[in-house]
Symmetry: C2
Subunit: 252 residues, 2 copies
Amino acid sequence: MRNRRVEIIAVEGIPEIEEAMDLGEIIVNAVRKMGLELRDRDIIVVSHIIVSKAEGRIVNLSDIKPSEFAKNIAEESDKDPRHIELVLRESKRIVRMRRGLIISETVNRLICANAGVDLSNAGTGRAAMLPLDPDDSARKIRNRIKELANVDVAVIISDTHGRPLRNGAVNIAIGCSGLEPLLDRRGEVDMYGRVLTSKVICVADELASAAELVIGQADEKTPVAIIRGYMYNPSETPAKVIPRREEDDLFL
Amino acid sequence: MRNRRVEIIAVEGIPEIEEAMDLGEIIVNAVRKMGLELRDRDIIVVSHIIVSKAEGRIVNLSDIKPSEFAKNIAEESDKDPRHIELVLRESKRIVRMRRGLIISETVNRLICANAGVDLSNAGTGRAAMLPLDPDDSARKIRNRIKELANVDVAVIISDTHGRPLRNGAVNIAIGCSGLEPLLDRRGEVDMYGRVLTSKVICVADELASAAELVIGQADEKTPVAIIRGYMYNPSETPAKVIPRREEDDLFL
């Protein structure tokens, strides 16, 4: 059964996150302080920036020594060579390079701009890299919430990504735990009884995009949202099944 | 100011849509029958299938005479040559063809599978094409709602599209009226005061994806959703600004 009403609730009062902080506990406490309780089947969407911070994936740019290649790129594009160096370190393959923008494949098989290395919201003179294993990050937060609040939630780690074909970035799921990221509707019938043959929906990305409606991007003081009322399929499938294998990608 | 809580409400009781039906009136009446009232700044997301039906963009496959080219493609792929013929008629350019799947650029500059021609939910032996001008469709529904219910809403026409790079389709905005589809956050500052330089968010697509959480896809008896509580920027900018110009697409 599909749901009739879904709520997206911004979680207020998340403090500034530093390395080794317990995000599960922080989320449980913040929700309680709002006078709410987490419920079974809530979906907790967490912006990757606070996960990166909690996992120590922040570096001081002053500690980075750019390679010659990074300096060459930076010179062409008027960018900070130390930022470029970090982008290269986080990449396993460059997909495109133009006007100082680097599209690369990260060690996590995401194809995105700047390998997800972000200067925004990282702190002055610092850069944030993506979590090393965002599915694992999601699972840990989910388990910790279960431990502390005794509720079965699903967790999505989100990031804002540019896309081929369409202008404007959207939030996508780079990690998840507890819900099936891809909803396979093949075999269901339409309103006339015709069997669907090719409908697979990426609900994890749709949920991440929905959460962005309350998660501020500049003002990362709201890095967490609760989505309530969406009947997902419980599953241990990770978000790493979402990136297409290159040979299956008919668009490229 | 960003919102703290956003609701996505499925609109129940939309009847089977036929050509020339008044979607604005049908939506206003359906919402009233649910005991709700539309409010200023509600966003109404309408699945394109009912727009296609109301605008007569449905054909009987038995009326279609496939070209030789369509027959050749169909033979290779075990598809209905009349369906292929329609896909070709709706396309102005083939981007990729493999295993019976055609990625093409439609007359509306959307790059998508099968030029958006859908056999699902169109009726037995029928196919649905995309609305000819989805931005205009959205504007008409919006104006009609204003006329009948005296509320200023925004309207999005949505469709489910596959994507490059990522498995699983998501709902996107193929038409809109009344809201700025691309939210330009450049110039805003992050939590440390650093000015954002490259954040443009496609809120129209994020809203369409959010609506999909209540809009069933097989069961098109729920083809309309209300999104309430999201503070969009009012605008007359159409959704046709969303597709990237090919020369600007660094991903491809």
